[in-house]
Symmetry: C2
Subunit: 351 residues, 2 copies
């Protein structure tokens, strides 16, 4: 297969972890007879510094003309405590999601047996956890009208959903549930929000098309609790944009392996693959960031092209590295800590 | 002191746990020479069944003419899976919060040494946790304009905040921080939402009035993570209505003692005091619900009247019951489980 992959390294540790994923993908491509052409492009604070915009048109052109996007991380602390900043790295991310039609964010949370002790949760709570969130990514309060009134004294953000937006996301949820244990949980706040009532009634109406899927409906506050209490009671969860933002981050830490969690954003033909961790500014340039989440995101990318074997080869290399202790300091537990690039080299050599 | 207390037992286990709090308060009143007049009133599904409305005018009259409201729980499953229900118990709760001006929901999360093992979190993560959320309770997306367009195909919920709404909540947060460890965390999503940017800039502008308080700003998704990772790194947190709904519930389970967590809603002269747990329909009428959260809510009520000794007497009785194993089945751990009313009797006798 010939693959054109847009490479958006972004900010902070983004470039370092992306470099490792490229190394690993290049070896996989050689082994399986694919040809990857990497198309680097600017995004995030890096793009603001270079051209004054977090998702420049040139970057969009490159993404649009690629088969997929491999993404590092964006965000820089100098923007976070300045509520009046006019241009923010995050705007680039949102613009990109919208422009590429990436309405479904797929975020798995699973455990690695060798890492169970890293979880803040007790072993019996976390063991066997293997859940996937499908977060709606291009609607809701993120993209509704927002602004100020009364000379800046009143602020508003509008949350809007159409039935169609709910349907296309829920469809992916039902389909995913069919390939797994046929359990789907719709997360909303239907006791308060009208948008949530639209979500619930839309999903209820779809149940008849998937008679084998057992659907449950839970309030977002209840899910925030049960994720900590019994994460392994969940399988596939679907939810709107803001709830998904909060809950997927919550879910990501319960496994204790946040540095290992990949994600995919799908919708149009072009998927975007990125680690769920952020730009981790404190670690930037120190060769200590864990590249495994990005490498596993590349595995999701191959799998999304239908290249299951390629994905599996990467996953097995990561498992082997974990078992043999070839890990960065976040997972070293007093043992030897390898550098970001050493872990990347090892994975490339063992894939 | 002469105290008129509106008694809103509500749904599910509400009436059972409220009964125990009344018993305990009556003994405290006798011991400390107070005179409590209880004014029972309808709310929730119980009120819908009786008079067709979840927060009837008569109930509001009673609350308005009382010194405080002691509240059980509301909610009934028959409303939850019916997105088209016209009247819902929750509307009563929201109407009451607004009508009584209860803009600040105070929700502590703390640990009981004897219950540390009940937490889903490992001991070293949870030990020493003692945090308080101040959740804004009468604004935001809960109360903004909501509805449908396009013949029902599009739904919207508007989130609105004024600077003044943020200021009065933040003021309570700063004041609370001054009585504790002088650390305040403002939780928002300022990288995406305009209302959050208003929150952040308003709190930033207030910092100079409280030079001793160390203020931090964190995104809601990051807090959802850190609450599970290092809950004991937080002290006082302030946040808007919906974020508060999700995060306070998440926080409530990390201690492992959800059946023990009280709350207060303050704003006008009349405070409302309630357990944070819900109406727990499965347990209704079985005399198994844990009354301690409601009893501790009554302690918060006394303390809010400036009656510190009375509050302390209740807290000490609860601690003693926990140490001596006088607990309901949720905390019994294979030991003897007492009934709801037996725990209430014991507390009343030991206060
Ligand atoms: C950076 C931010 C805008 C973004 C979001 O809120 O969607 C991030 O938290 C995420 O989850 O990808
Ligand atoms: C019942 C519901 C409307 C309510 C809320 O969302 O505020 C509840 O979850 C709470 O936190 O008190």
């Amino acid at each position: 297969m010939k693959l054109n992959i847009a490479l958006l390294a972004g900010d902070g540790i983004g470039p370092e972890v992306i470099d490792q994923a490229v190394k690993v993908c290049d070896v996989v491509a050689t082994k399986f007879n694919h040809e990857i052409t990497w198309k680097p492009a600017l995004t995030g604070a890096a793009a603001i510094d270079a051209v004054g915009e977090p998702y420049p048109d040139e970057t969009h052109e490159i993404c649009k003309n690629s088969d997929a996007v491999l993404f590092g991380a964006i965000g820089h602390p100098r923007f976070d405590n300045d509520p009046s900043a006019k241009v923010r790295p995050e705007q680039g991310l949102l613009k990109m999601r919208k422009a590429l039609g990436l309405f479904a964010n797929v975020r798995p949370t699973f455990t690695f047996p060798s890492l169970l002790e890293k979880s803040p949760l007790k072993r019996e709570r976390i063991e066997g956890t293997d859940l996937v969130f499908l977060r709606e990514l291009t609607g809701g309060i993120y993209f509704g009208e927002k602004g100020r009134r009364d000379g800046g004294e009143t602020a508003f953000d509008n949350c809007v959903y159409t039935r169609e937006e709910v349907q296309r996301l829920a469809k992916k949820g039902f389909e995913l549930a069919m390939t797994r244990s046929k359990k789907l949980c719709c997360v909303d706040k239907a006791n308060v929000l009208e948008t949530s009532r639209l979500w619930r009634e839309t999903v209820q109406a779809m149940e008849k098309d998937y008679p084998e899927v057992e659907v449950s409906y839970e309030f977002v506050d209840a899910v925030a609790m049960r994720l900590v209490q019994w994460p392994n009671s969940y399988d596939v969860l679907i939810t709107e944009n803001l709830f998904g933002d909060i809950l997927t981050d919550e879910a990501s830490v319960i496994s204790g392996s946040m540095g290992l969690m990949p994600s995919a954003s799908l919708g149009s033909d072009i998927g975007l693959f990125e680690p769920i961790h952020g730009s981790y500014p404190q670690a930037t340039g120190k060769n200590i960031a864990n590249p495994m989440a990005t490498v596993l995101s590349a595995a999701m990318m191959f799998e999304n092209f239908g290249l299951q074997e390629e994905g599996k080869a990467i996953r097995e290399a990561v498992n082997k590295a974990l078992n043999e202790g070839v890990v960065t300091e976040d997972l070293a537990e007093g043992g030897k800590a390898y550098g970001t690039s050493e872990v990347g080299d090892w994975l490339a050599a063992n894939v």
